[in-house]
Amino acid sequence: KAKSLATGKVILDEDDLEEPLWDLEMALLESDVEMSVAEEILDTIEADLTGERRGFTEQTENIVTAALRDALLEVIDVGQFDFDEHVAASEKPVVIVFTGVNGVGKTTTIAKLAKYLDDRGYSSVLANGDTYRAGANEQIQEHAERLDKKLISHERGGDPTAVIYDAVEYAEANDVDVVLGDTAGRLHTSNDLMAQLEKLDRIVDPDLTIFVDEAVAGQDAVNRAKEFDSAASIDGTILTMADADAQGGAAISISYVTGKPILFLGTGQTYDDLEKFDPETLVDDLLGEA
C-alpha cells in the first residue's frame, strides 16, 4: 500500500470490509431488519466501497457506517408524501382502507386518524369492514361514540365490501370528507380471506390502502407486506407499537418490499399517540445516533 500511503489514500479491498460488514449484518438483524433485505443493503454497500479510494485517516468503520446510512435512507425514504396534503388535494370523499394481520392495531389507528383529521378540520365516517371477529362491532362503536363519529356497520358475518360501500354512499350524501374503512385482521396464508380483500379492493377502489403493521414484528414483516401488497396494492404503511420497541427494523423491511413510505407511527393507546414518520430519525435511531 506504499503508493496509496504516499498519496494519502488507501484502497479498500474485500478483506478490509469483511469484518465491519459482518458486524453490520448482525446489527441490522438485531434491529429486526429482515435477513434478505439486510443482505441486499450490505451488497450495495460492498459494491459502493470496494476498490474505493479513501483518505487513510478515515477509519474503514466510519466509511462503512456512512455508506450504511445512505443505503438505509435510500430504502426508507421512498416516495414520502404528505398525508395532510394528499387529503387536501383529493376529491372528496377520500376513501381509505386499512389492511394488515391480526391484532396489529388497525382499529385503534383508525380511531386515532379520525381524531387527527378532526383536529385538521376534516370530517370522517368510520366503516367497520371487520364483520368477522368477536367484539369487533362493539370495539369500533365505542371509539366512534367517544370521538363523536358516525359508524357504518353491518351484522357479524356480513359482506365487508358492502359495509364500506355503504359508508362511501353515506359520505357522498352527507358531504363527509374522509371514509375510514376497517377490515378484519387476517394472516396472509389464508387464501379465502386474502381473496376477500382483493375483492374489496377491486370493488371499493379506495384512494389509499394503508397497511398497518407493528414495530415489534420480526423477520415475517417482509412476507406479510408482500402478500398484502399483492392482494390490495399498498400506498403507505403505519407502524404501531413504536412505543414498545426502539429498533424499528420492520420499517426498513416493509419499505423495501412495498417501495411505499411509512406515513405514521403509533406510539401508544390513546388517540393522540400518532406521530408523523420521519425517515432520518428512524435511520439515526437504527445507527444509534439519536
Binding site: 438483524l29 438485531e30 394481520v101 391480526n102 391484532g103 371477529r133 415489534v216 423477520q219
Partner: protein, 301 residues
C-alpha cells in the same frame, strides 16, 4: 402462495455431508453457519443463536459419531438435541383445579387464547371459566364474552367496573364452582411501568397457579426484553405462541423460554376456539429450522 424456502440451503449443506463419515472443521463451520441463518430468520435472539451455534460446533467436533452414522446425521442429531434441551417439554398442566393468569403485549392474542384454553380444558372434562379483567380496550368485555360463549364455558366480566383487580377478585368468587379459572388481562408492554405495576397487583389478588406469557409468533428481537420484564413482574411459568397459522417461525418464543427458564404450554393456529394445541417440541423445532420431521431423522441415529 407463500414460498417456504427457509431451510432449503440448510438442507443442501447437510446433504453435502450425507456420504461422509468424518467431518472436518470446515464442514462443521458451514453447517453451523446455515443453522445460524435459519435461527436468525426464525427471530431467535441473536446472542442466543451465537451461544447455540458455539455449543453445536464444539460438540460436533469433539464427539465421536456413533459407529455407522454419517457426518450429516451426527450434526443433525446434535442440533436437534441442543434445541430440545433448550425448549424442553410442554409446560406441565395437571388436570385439576387451578387458576391461570394470562399476560402479554397488546394484540398478542390473550383474549382469544383464554377462550381457546377454556375450550381445551372443557374437552378434558373440567369446568372452566374465563374472567375478563381488561377495562381499557373498547369492546374487550363483549369480545371475551362472545368468545367464551362460542367455547360454551362460563364467563365473568363487569363492564361498569374500572378496577381490574376488583374484577379479578369478584370474578374468582362469582365463578367459584368452576374448576379452572382463566384470567385474561389487558395488553401491556415492558416499557409501560404503570401497566406492569397493575399486572403485579392483579397477580397478587389472583394468586395464580400458572402465569402464561402470550406471544405472537411474529415477534422479533424485542421478545427478550419483553419476556424479562414480565418475568420480573409476575414470574412466567409458560409461554403460549399464537398465530402459527401464518409464516412466522416463532423463534421469539424460544428466546422467551430461555429468558424466563420456562417452557411452552400451547400453540395457537387460528381465530376459533378450537385452534389450539398442546406444545410438542419436535414439530416446533422442525418449523424453526424450516426442515421436515427432524425427530424421525434423529431417531434413525
Amino acid at each position: 402462495m407463500v414460498l417456504d424456502d427457509l431451510g432449503s440451503s440448510l438442507r443442501g449443506t447437510l446433504d453435502k455431508l450425507r456420504g461422509k463419515s468424518r467431518i472436518s472443521e470446515e464442514d462443521v463451520d458451514e453447517v453451523v453457519k446455515e443453522i445460524q441463518r435459519s435461527l436468525l430468520q426464525a427471530d431467535v435472539d441473536t446472542s442466543l443463536v451465537m451461544e447455540l451455534s458455539d455449543d453445536i460446533s464444539s460438540r460436533a467436533l469433539d464427539e465421536e459419531p456413533p459407529g455407522g452414522t454419517t457426518a450429516r446425521d451426527h450434526v443433525l442429531r446434535i442440533v436437534y438435541e441442543e434445541l430440545v434441551d433448550l425448549v424442553g417439554e410442554s409446560t406441565e398442566l395437571p388436570l385439576e383445579e387451578q387458576t391461570i393468569l394470562l399476560a402479554g403485549l397488546q394484540g398478542s392474542g390473550k383474549t382469544t387464547t383464554a377462550a381457546k384454553m377454556a375450550w381445551w380444558f372443557s374437552k378434558k372434562g373440567l369446568r372452566p371459566a374465563v374472567i375478563q379483567t381488561d377495562t381499557f380496550r373498547p369492546g374487550a368485555y363483549d369480545q371475551a364474552k362472545q368468545m367464551a360463549d362460542s367455547a360454551e364455558v362460563s364467563f365473568y366480566g363487569d363492564p361498569d367496573e374500572s378496577d381490574p383487580v376488583a374484577i379479578a377478585r369478584d370474578g374468582l368468587e362469582a365463578t367459584s364452582d368452576a374448576e379452572v379459572h382463566i384470567v385474561d388481562t389487558a395488553g401491556r408492554h415492558a416499557l409501560e411501568d404503570d401497566l406492569i405495576d397493575e399486572i403485579e397487583d392483579i397477580e397478587d389478588a389472583v394468586d395464580p397457579d400458572r402465569r402464561l406469557l402470550v406471544l405472537d409468533a411474529a415477534i422479533g428481537q424485542g421478545a427478550k426484553e419483553q419476556a424479562q420484564r414480565f418475568d420480573d413482574a409476575i414470574g412466567i411459568d409458560g409461554v403460549v405462541i399464537t398465530k402459527l397459522d401464518g409464516t412466522a417461525k416463532g423463534g421469539g418464543a424460544l428466546t422467551a423460554v430461555n429468558e424466563t427458564e420456562s417452557t411452552i404450554a400451547f400453540l395457537g393456529s387460528g381465530e376459533t376456539v378450537k385452534d389450539i394445541e398442546r406444545f410438542e417440541p419436535s414439530g416446533f423445532i422442525s418449523r424453526l429450522l424450516g426442515m421436515g420431521d427432524l425427530k424421525q431423522l434423529t431417531e434413525r441415529v
